[in-house]
Amino acid sequence: MLDADFFRRWMTATATSMNREAERLTALDSAIGDADHGSNMQRGFSAVRAALEEEAPDTPGAVLTLAGRRLISTVGGASGPLYGTLLRRAGKAFGDAAEVSEKQLAEALRAGVDGVMALGGAAPGDKTMIDALVPAVDALGDGFAAARAAAEEGAVATTPLQARKGRASYLGERSIGHQDPGATSSALLIAGLAEAATGASGE
Protein backbone atom coordinates (compact mmCIF):
# COMPACT_ATOMS: atom_id res chain seq x y z
CA MET A 1 0.00 0.00 0.00
CA LEU A 2 1.09 3.56 -0.72
CA ASP A 3 0.78 6.26 1.93
CA ALA A 4 1.10 10.05 1.92
CA ASP A 5 4.84 9.73 2.45
CA PHE A 6 5.16 7.78 -0.79
CA PHE A 7 3.38 10.58 -2.68
CA ARG A 8 5.52 13.25 -1.04
CA ARG A 9 8.61 11.31 -2.12
CA TRP A 10 7.19 11.17 -5.65
CA MET A 11 6.73 14.92 -5.80
CA THR A 12 10.12 15.60 -4.21
CA ALA A 13 11.91 13.25 -6.61
CA THR A 14 10.13 14.95 -9.50
CA ALA A 15 11.13 18.40 -8.26
CA THR A 16 14.74 17.24 -8.09
CA SER A 17 14.70 15.87 -11.63
CA MET A 18 12.94 18.98 -13.00
CA ASN A 19 15.76 21.04 -11.49
CA ARG A 20 18.38 18.72 -12.93
CA GLU A 21 16.79 18.53 -16.39
CA ALA A 22 15.52 22.11 -16.70
CA GLU A 23 18.11 23.08 -19.29
CA ARG A 24 17.41 20.02 -21.40
CA LEU A 25 13.65 20.66 -21.31
CA THR A 26 14.17 24.27 -22.30
CA ALA A 27 16.52 23.23 -25.11
CA LEU A 28 13.84 20.87 -26.45
CA ASP A 29 11.25 23.64 -26.10
CA SER A 30 13.44 26.15 -27.91
CA ALA A 31 13.23 23.93 -31.01
CA ILE A 32 9.43 23.79 -31.26
CA GLY A 33 8.05 25.99 -28.47
CA ASP A 34 8.78 29.21 -26.64
CA ALA A 35 11.85 28.00 -24.73
CA ASP A 36 10.41 28.19 -21.25
CA HIS A 37 9.33 24.63 -20.45
CA GLY A 38 12.33 23.81 -18.28
CA SER A 39 12.15 26.94 -16.18
CA ASN A 40 8.35 26.63 -15.93
CA MET A 41 8.48 23.05 -14.69
CA GLN A 42 11.36 23.84 -12.37
CA ARG A 43 9.45 26.74 -10.84
CA GLY A 44 6.23 24.74 -10.57
CA PHE A 45 7.65 21.66 -8.88
CA SER A 46 9.89 23.72 -6.60
CA ALA A 47 6.70 25.44 -5.43
CA VAL A 48 5.08 22.02 -4.97
CA ARG A 49 7.99 20.84 -2.84
CA ALA A 50 7.85 23.99 -0.71
CA ALA A 51 4.07 23.74 -0.27
CA LEU A 52 4.29 20.10 0.80
CA GLU A 53 6.93 20.94 3.40
CA GLU A 54 4.85 23.80 4.71
CA GLU A 55 1.42 22.19 4.81
CA ALA A 56 2.39 18.51 5.29
CA PRO A 57 -0.81 16.97 3.88
CA ASP A 58 -1.39 13.55 5.42
CA THR A 59 -3.28 11.59 2.78
CA PRO A 60 -2.30 10.62 -0.79
CA GLY A 61 -5.28 12.56 -2.12
CA ALA A 62 -4.34 15.69 -0.22
CA VAL A 63 -0.72 15.52 -1.42
CA LEU A 64 -1.73 15.33 -5.08
CA THR A 65 -4.50 17.93 -4.94
CA LEU A 66 -2.20 20.41 -3.20
CA ALA A 67 0.53 19.70 -5.75
CA GLY A 68 -1.89 20.17 -8.63
CA ARG A 69 -3.15 23.45 -7.22
CA ARG A 70 0.37 24.79 -6.84
CA LEU A 71 1.27 23.83 -10.41
CA ILE A 72 -1.73 25.69 -11.81
CA SER A 73 -0.77 28.73 -9.76
CA THR A 74 2.93 28.87 -10.42
CA VAL A 75 3.90 27.34 -13.76
CA GLY A 76 2.70 30.25 -15.89
CA GLY A 77 2.33 28.26 -19.11
CA ALA A 78 -0.05 25.65 -20.48
CA SER A 79 1.82 22.92 -18.58
CA GLY A 80 0.48 24.36 -15.32
CA PRO A 81 -3.22 23.67 -15.85
CA LEU A 82 -2.41 20.42 -17.68
CA TYR A 83 -0.14 18.92 -15.01
CA GLY A 84 -2.32 20.50 -12.33
CA THR A 85 -5.39 18.79 -13.72
CA LEU A 86 -3.52 15.47 -13.95
CA LEU A 87 -2.51 15.50 -10.29
CA ARG A 88 -5.67 17.07 -8.89
CA ARG A 89 -7.94 14.69 -10.73
CA ALA A 90 -5.86 11.74 -9.53
CA GLY A 91 -5.86 13.11 -6.00
CA LYS A 92 -9.62 13.52 -5.98
CA ALA A 93 -10.02 9.91 -7.10
CA PHE A 94 -8.29 8.86 -3.85
CA GLY A 95 -10.76 10.69 -1.64
CA ASP A 96 -9.68 10.69 2.02
CA ALA A 97 -8.01 7.27 1.97
CA ALA A 98 -4.93 7.08 4.20
CA GLU A 99 -3.35 4.50 1.91
CA VAL A 100 -4.01 3.42 -1.66
CA SER A 101 -3.08 0.32 -3.62
CA GLU A 102 -0.98 0.31 -6.77
CA LYS A 103 -4.13 -0.62 -8.66
CA GLN A 104 -5.93 2.41 -7.25
CA LEU A 105 -2.97 4.57 -8.25
CA ALA A 106 -3.20 3.26 -11.81
CA GLU A 107 -6.93 3.98 -11.91
CA ALA A 108 -6.48 7.46 -10.44
CA LEU A 109 -3.76 8.32 -12.93
CA ARG A 110 -5.99 7.05 -15.72
CA ALA A 111 -8.68 9.47 -14.52
CA GLY A 112 -6.06 12.23 -14.40
CA VAL A 113 -4.88 11.53 -17.94
CA ASP A 114 -8.49 11.52 -19.15
CA GLY A 115 -8.87 14.93 -17.51
CA VAL A 116 -5.77 16.24 -19.29
CA MET A 117 -7.06 15.00 -22.64
CA ALA A 118 -10.43 16.63 -22.03
CA LEU A 119 -8.83 19.95 -21.01
CA GLY A 120 -6.24 20.17 -23.76
CA GLY A 121 -8.12 18.31 -26.46
CA ALA A 122 -5.06 16.20 -27.29
CA ALA A 123 -5.13 12.53 -28.25
CA PRO A 124 -2.28 10.00 -28.50
CA GLY A 125 -0.10 10.80 -31.51
CA ASP A 126 -0.53 14.58 -31.28
CA LYS A 127 3.06 14.98 -29.98
CA THR A 128 2.16 16.03 -26.44
CA MET A 129 2.59 14.86 -22.85
CA ILE A 130 -0.22 12.38 -23.55
CA ASP A 131 2.20 10.33 -25.66
CA ALA A 132 4.27 9.58 -22.56
CA LEU A 133 1.45 9.40 -20.01
CA VAL A 134 -0.90 6.99 -21.78
CA PRO A 135 1.72 4.24 -22.29
CA ALA A 136 2.94 4.79 -18.72
CA VAL A 137 -0.54 4.29 -17.27
CA ASP A 138 -1.06 1.29 -19.54
CA ALA A 139 2.17 -0.25 -18.24
CA LEU A 140 1.56 0.55 -14.57
CA GLY A 141 -0.06 -2.84 -14.04
CA ASP A 142 3.37 -4.37 -14.64
CA GLY A 143 5.03 -2.19 -12.02
CA PHE A 144 6.67 1.21 -11.63
CA ALA A 145 9.82 0.31 -13.58
CA ALA A 146 7.69 -0.77 -16.54
CA ALA A 147 5.73 2.47 -16.38
CA ARG A 148 8.96 4.47 -16.32
CA ALA A 149 10.33 2.64 -19.36
CA ALA A 150 7.04 3.03 -21.23
CA ALA A 151 6.96 6.78 -20.53
CA GLU A 152 10.53 7.24 -21.72
CA GLU A 153 9.85 5.22 -24.86
CA GLY A 154 6.69 7.23 -25.44
CA ALA A 155 8.60 10.50 -25.11
CA VAL A 156 11.30 9.39 -27.56
CA ALA A 157 8.60 8.18 -29.94
CA THR A 158 7.25 11.75 -30.27
CA THR A 159 10.34 12.75 -32.30
CA PRO A 160 9.05 11.75 -35.77
CA LEU A 161 5.53 13.05 -35.08
CA GLN A 162 4.05 16.30 -36.34
CA ALA A 163 2.62 18.46 -33.56
CA ARG A 164 -1.12 18.99 -33.67
CA LYS A 165 -1.60 20.85 -30.38
CA GLY A 166 -0.16 23.92 -28.74
CA ARG A 167 2.36 26.37 -30.07
CA ALA A 168 4.37 23.66 -31.83
CA SER A 169 1.39 22.93 -34.08
CA TYR A 170 1.96 26.31 -35.79
CA LEU A 171 5.25 24.90 -37.09
CA GLY A 172 3.53 22.16 -39.07
CA GLU A 173 6.07 19.78 -40.62
CA ARG A 174 8.95 21.69 -39.06
CA SER A 175 7.94 20.18 -35.72
CA ILE A 176 8.97 16.76 -37.07
CA GLY A 177 12.34 15.53 -35.84
CA HIS A 178 12.20 17.10 -32.38
CA GLN A 179 11.31 15.26 -29.19
CA ASP A 180 8.32 16.85 -27.49
CA PRO A 181 9.29 18.73 -24.30
CA GLY A 182 5.96 18.01 -22.62
CA ALA A 183 6.25 14.29 -23.22
CA THR A 184 9.80 14.51 -21.90
CA SER A 185 8.76 16.20 -18.66
CA SER A 186 5.95 13.67 -18.30
CA ALA A 187 8.55 10.91 -18.51
CA LEU A 188 10.42 12.65 -15.67
CA LEU A 189 7.22 12.69 -13.61
CA ILE A 190 6.75 8.96 -14.10
CA ALA A 191 10.45 8.36 -13.40
CA GLY A 192 9.89 10.17 -10.09
CA LEU A 193 7.15 7.68 -9.32
CA ALA A 194 9.58 4.82 -9.89
CA GLU A 195 12.16 6.55 -7.69
CA ALA A 196 9.61 6.95 -4.89
CA ALA A 197 8.85 3.24 -5.14
CA THR A 198 12.54 2.35 -5.00
CA GLY A 199 12.90 4.46 -1.88
CA ALA A 200 10.04 2.55 -0.25
CA SER A 201 11.49 -0.88 -0.94
CA GLY A 202 14.96 0.21 0.09
CA GLU A 203 13.90 1.29 3.56
Binding site: D36, I72, G80, P81, L82
Partner: protein, 136 residues
Protein backbone atom coordinates in the same frame (compact mmCIF):
# COMPACT_ATOMS: atom_id res chain seq x y z
CA UNK B 1 -31.78 49.70 -7.35
CA UNK B 2 -29.69 47.36 -9.41
CA UNK B 3 -28.33 49.95 -11.81
CA UNK B 4 -24.76 49.16 -10.91
CA UNK B 5 -25.10 45.41 -11.41
CA UNK B 6 -23.33 44.97 -14.71
CA UNK B 7 -21.76 41.76 -15.93
CA UNK B 8 -18.04 41.91 -15.16
CA UNK B 9 -15.40 41.36 -17.83
CA UNK B 10 -11.99 39.76 -17.29
CA UNK B 11 -9.37 39.89 -20.02
CA UNK B 12 -6.81 37.09 -19.71
CA UNK B 13 -3.72 37.56 -21.85
CA UNK B 14 -0.16 36.28 -21.83
CA UNK B 15 0.90 39.91 -21.59
CA UNK B 16 -0.01 42.44 -18.90
CA UNK B 17 0.27 45.25 -21.44
CA UNK B 18 -2.01 43.50 -23.93
CA UNK B 19 -4.68 42.78 -21.31
CA UNK B 20 -4.60 46.34 -19.96
CA UNK B 21 -4.52 47.95 -23.41
CA UNK B 22 -7.34 45.86 -24.82
CA UNK B 23 -9.39 46.67 -21.72
CA UNK B 24 -8.74 50.38 -22.16
CA UNK B 25 -9.53 50.20 -25.85
CA UNK B 26 -12.78 48.32 -25.25
CA UNK B 27 -13.91 50.79 -22.61
CA UNK B 28 -12.91 53.70 -24.80
CA UNK B 29 -14.79 52.39 -27.81
CA UNK B 30 -17.79 51.50 -25.69
CA UNK B 31 -18.22 55.12 -24.65
CA UNK B 32 -20.22 55.67 -21.51
CA UNK B 33 -19.17 52.26 -20.28
CA UNK B 34 -17.38 53.63 -17.24
CA UNK B 35 -19.71 51.70 -14.97
CA UNK B 36 -18.78 48.35 -16.49
CA UNK B 37 -16.02 46.72 -14.54
CA UNK B 38 -13.24 45.43 -16.78
CA UNK B 39 -10.23 43.80 -15.14
CA UNK B 40 -7.05 42.79 -16.95
CA UNK B 41 -5.31 39.57 -15.89
CA UNK B 42 -2.22 39.60 -18.04
CA UNK B 43 1.16 37.96 -17.74
CA UNK B 44 2.65 36.22 -14.75
CA UNK B 45 2.74 37.57 -11.22
CA UNK B 46 6.34 38.67 -11.65
CA UNK B 47 5.48 40.62 -14.80
CA UNK B 48 6.68 38.09 -17.36
CA UNK B 49 4.83 36.64 -20.32
CA UNK B 50 2.49 33.82 -19.34
CA UNK B 51 -0.62 33.15 -17.34
CA UNK B 52 -1.26 33.53 -13.63
CA UNK B 53 -4.11 31.68 -11.95
CA UNK B 54 -3.83 34.06 -8.99
CA UNK B 55 -4.20 37.16 -11.15
CA UNK B 56 -7.19 35.63 -12.94
CA UNK B 57 -8.96 34.71 -9.69
CA UNK B 58 -8.32 38.15 -8.23
CA UNK B 59 -9.48 39.92 -11.38
CA UNK B 60 -12.70 37.90 -11.51
CA UNK B 61 -13.45 38.61 -7.87
CA UNK B 62 -12.84 42.32 -8.41
CA UNK B 63 -15.46 42.66 -11.17
CA UNK B 64 -18.09 40.32 -9.72
CA UNK B 65 -21.33 42.11 -8.90
CA UNK B 66 -23.35 38.93 -8.58
CA UNK B 67 -24.74 38.90 -12.12
CA UNK B 68 -21.98 36.99 -13.85
CA UNK B 69 -18.42 37.42 -15.04
CA UNK B 70 -17.34 36.87 -18.65
CA UNK B 71 -13.72 35.78 -19.04
CA UNK B 72 -12.13 36.29 -22.44
CA UNK B 73 -8.72 34.68 -22.98
CA UNK B 74 -6.12 34.96 -25.71
CA UNK B 75 -4.11 31.75 -26.29
CA UNK B 76 -3.13 28.31 -25.03
CA UNK B 77 -2.30 28.52 -21.36
CA UNK B 78 -4.64 31.49 -20.79
CA UNK B 79 -7.55 29.39 -22.02
CA UNK B 80 -6.42 26.25 -20.20
CA UNK B 81 -5.86 28.04 -16.91
CA UNK B 82 -9.35 29.56 -16.96
CA UNK B 83 -10.82 26.14 -17.74
CA UNK B 84 -8.84 24.55 -14.92
CA UNK B 85 -10.05 27.23 -12.49
CA UNK B 86 -13.65 26.77 -13.61
CA UNK B 87 -13.31 23.04 -12.91
CA UNK B 88 -12.41 23.83 -9.31
CA UNK B 89 -14.94 25.06 -6.77
CA UNK B 90 -14.36 28.42 -5.19
CA UNK B 91 -11.65 29.69 -7.53
CA UNK B 92 -13.92 31.90 -9.61
CA UNK B 93 -17.19 33.67 -8.68
CA UNK B 94 -20.51 31.90 -9.22
CA UNK B 95 -21.67 32.73 -12.70
CA UNK B 96 -18.14 33.08 -14.08
CA UNK B 97 -17.88 31.79 -17.61
CA UNK B 98 -15.16 31.38 -20.24
CA UNK B 99 -16.45 33.06 -23.36
CA UNK B 100 -15.32 31.65 -26.70
CA UNK B 101 -14.48 34.85 -28.52
CA UNK B 102 -11.64 36.61 -30.36
CA UNK B 103 -9.66 38.51 -27.77
CA UNK B 104 -9.86 42.12 -28.90
CA UNK B 105 -13.06 42.07 -30.93
CA UNK B 106 -14.76 39.92 -28.32
CA UNK B 107 -13.68 42.28 -25.54
CA UNK B 108 -15.14 45.29 -27.34
CA UNK B 109 -18.41 43.48 -28.04
CA UNK B 110 -18.63 42.23 -24.45
CA UNK B 111 -17.98 45.62 -22.85
CA UNK B 112 -20.38 47.46 -25.15
CA UNK B 113 -23.07 44.89 -24.50
CA UNK B 114 -22.49 44.73 -20.76
CA UNK B 115 -22.80 48.53 -20.62
CA UNK B 116 -26.40 48.22 -21.79
CA UNK B 117 -27.17 46.24 -18.65
CA UNK B 118 -27.46 43.00 -20.62
CA UNK B 119 -27.27 39.67 -18.82
CA UNK B 120 -24.39 37.22 -19.10
CA UNK B 121 -25.97 35.15 -21.88
CA UNK B 122 -26.40 38.26 -24.01
CA UNK B 123 -22.87 39.48 -23.29
CA UNK B 124 -21.52 36.06 -24.24
CA UNK B 125 -23.56 35.93 -27.44
CA UNK B 126 -22.26 39.34 -28.52
CA UNK B 127 -18.67 38.36 -27.84
CA UNK B 128 -18.97 35.02 -29.67
CA UNK B 129 -20.61 36.78 -32.61
CA UNK B 130 -17.43 38.81 -33.03
CA UNK B 131 -15.88 35.75 -34.69
CA UNK B 132 -18.27 36.32 -37.58
CA UNK B 133 -17.17 39.83 -38.52
CA UNK B 134 -15.20 39.13 -41.68
CA UNK B 135 -12.60 41.73 -42.67
CA UNK B 136 -12.21 40.66 -46.27
Amino acid sequence: MSDDKFVGIVLVSHSAEVAASVGALAKGLAGGAEAVLVAPAGGTEDGGLGTSAELISAAAASVDRGVGVALIADLGSAVLTVKALLAEEGELPDGARLVDAPFLEGAVAAVVTAATGADLDTVEAAAVEAYGYRKV
